[in-house]
């Protein structure tokens, strides 16, 4: 089939696949790449900079799609730690669950996780969007600076600890909020944002069921009277 290229990681070394994706695919006319037997390998399809559809069959190891630009990556199984970390643009869709630190530091693009995401989802998020169909683990969105996180299930402890300007929308329960994170009333623009992100991720929920969590900004300035108690 023209326009489609397939690699089997049981046969082809990952380094060769990534080299092809970095150097050869752009001029090849190939629009879709299928990667078989991921078998937990680390760093599959990292550092891409081409508008390309990539489908990964199986469960992935660390840092799938890290630093991604433009590529649209779909993982049929689960993703290991740091999926889409430092993503700049494009999209990553995980059909299973994602391990810790999903979307860490992502600057742009969309990370959609159909299952749960483990602890520290969206840690230090810098402008990317993350939509989780299931629940997120504790300490998610820690120090998230910009971007949006939509959680269709529940959130663990310490959600949004030391948040900056990122905004979190949670449909289910929140076990506890982190320091300086607070619930805020949903505005028309929030409903719109949730609708847009749910549509982009392909999840069907009513935006009216979501709560907004954002920074109270009390940590933005040093308070000499706080006596180290926040």
């Amino acid at each position: 089939m023209e326009g489609v290229k397939q690699f089997d990681l049981a046969v082809t070394p990952l380094r060769e696949v990534n080299r092809y994706l970095h150097h050869d695919v752009a001029a090849s006319g190939v629009e879709r790449v299928k990667i078989l037997n991921a078998d937990g390998a680390h760093s599959i399809a990292v550092g891409l900079n081409v508008p390309l559809d990539i489908e990964v069959d199986g469960h992935c190891g660390y840092y799938l799609g890290g630093m991604n630009q433009l590529a649209r990556i779909t993982v049929q199984g689960n993703a290991g730690p740091g999926v889409g970390e430092n993503m700049m643009s494009g999209s990553i869709r995980v059909k299973g669950f994602a391990s810790t630190a999903a979307g860490a530091s992502a600057h742009g693009g969309l990370l959609a996780i159909q299952g749960d995401a483990a602890l520290r989802c969206g840690i230090s998020l810098k402008g990317g969007d993350i939509v989780v169909g299931g629940s997120v683990g504790s300490f998610s969105a820690f120090m998230a600076q910009a971007g949006r996180i939509v959680v269709c299930g529940d959130a663990g402890d310490g959600l949004g600890d030391s948040l900056y300007e990122a905004v979190i929308y949670v449909r289910g329960s929140v076990r506890s909020l982190g320091t300086d994170a607070r619930f805020e009333p949903m505005q028309a623009s929030d409903y719109e944002a949730v609708r847009e992100l749910l549509d982009a991720a392909g999840f069907e929920h009513d935006p009216r069921d979501f709560k907004r969590v954002a920074s109270a900004k009390s940590l933005y300035h040093w308070n000499v009277d706080a006596n180290q108690e926040y």
Partner: protein, 297 residues
């Protein structure tokens, strides 16, 4: 870093292949732990006498000579089954007496484990080499607890490799580091519990075994550990009857479980599980922080 590996075979017909199925799991964790590796194999319990796994720590192993010297001190039936630097001693002599005899007459011997079910192998070197050295791929049994070590807090020696054992038919492997092992030791030593190494994991191992002797079941002991043991950990533990995994509240140290009809397989990463038969249909999940997962043999 470090890698952990566990495999419990529910399907009896697979038990002859325990070592064969475990080997790629262990070798798959080489990147996480290239210094040393260890494997605790649990099999059908010995009918009467205890099995004691021994390691000849320096010099060429002379198990025949050692067997003679043991007979002089303790006449009566015993067997040494040598395997390179490793041997399994089956004897009616009490473990404490064997420890005393080692201390007095055979200081080059390091006692690895005691029990009716457990055989323990650990050594320094790459996991694949250690498998080859002791023929671990040919071992059979019901379940295995294994580890690949990248040392961060104490020396690289066979004694510092995991699994650690205490008491009988109990072992523990650890990915992570404890910040209060000395406090734990200070608490246990006045109770008559002695330590073999300065390793942080040994403190956790002896803490849990102490709780078991005090009447806790393993899950209860682990619950107590949440307040007593400070640090980062994924602990995988084995007894003759049970395989158990737990992660600390921050779950910084990874673990993946694959539960299939025929087995439960555990590793630090999925890449060590990918080769297992029927893995595509297994229920694959990550243990949640501070939740205790255990499987009975």
């Amino acid at each position: 870093m470090c890698g952990i590996v566990g495999l419990l075979l529910k399907e009896p017909s697979l038990r002859d292949r325990l070592g064969e199925l475990m080997t790629p799991m262990l070798v798959g964790m080489t990147d996480r732990g290239p210094d040393s590796a260890g494997v605790a194999i649990f099999g059908a319990p010995a009918p009467s006498a205890l099995k004691i796994s021994l390691f000849w720590s320096h010099g060429a192993a002379d198990w025949n000579g050692l067997s003679k010297s043991f007979s002089e001190k303790y006449p009566g039936a015993h067997t040494f089954t040598p395997n390179g630097q490793h041997a399994i001693l089956v004897t009616d002599v009490s473990p404490d007496d064997v420890r005393g005899w080692i201390k007095d007459s055979a200081p080059q011997i390091y006692l690895l484990s005691v029990g009716r079910s457990i055989d323990l192998y650990k050594d320094i070197g790459a996991p694949a080499e250690i498998v080859k050295r002791y023929g671990l791929d040919r071992m059979s049994g019901t379940h295995v607890v294994a580890h690949t070590r990248m040392a961060t807090e104490s020396a690289v020696t066979p004694a510092h490799a995991h699994p650690f054992t205490a008491g009988e038919d109990f072992c523990l492997v650890h990915n992570g580091s404890l910040s209060n092992p000395h406090l734990v030791r200070k608490k246990l030593e006045p109770l008559g519990i002695s330590f073999v190494t300065d390793n942080d994991t040994e403190a956790a191992c002896r803490f849990f075994e102490w709780r078991l002797r005090e009447g806790d079941d393993l899950s209860t002991a682990v619950q107590r550990g949440f307040s007593e043991l400070d640090g980062f950990y994924t602990f995988l533990m084995g007894t003759d009857k049970e395989l158990l995994i737990v992660r600390d509240a921050f779950a910084c140290k990874p673990a993946v479980v694959a539960e299939a009809d025929d087995y439960v397989a555990i590793a630090s990463e999925f890449r060590s599980l990918a080769h297992l038969p029927g893995i595509r249909h297994a229920n694959v999940f990550e243990p949640k922080p501070q939740e205790v997962y255990s499987w009975k043999v």
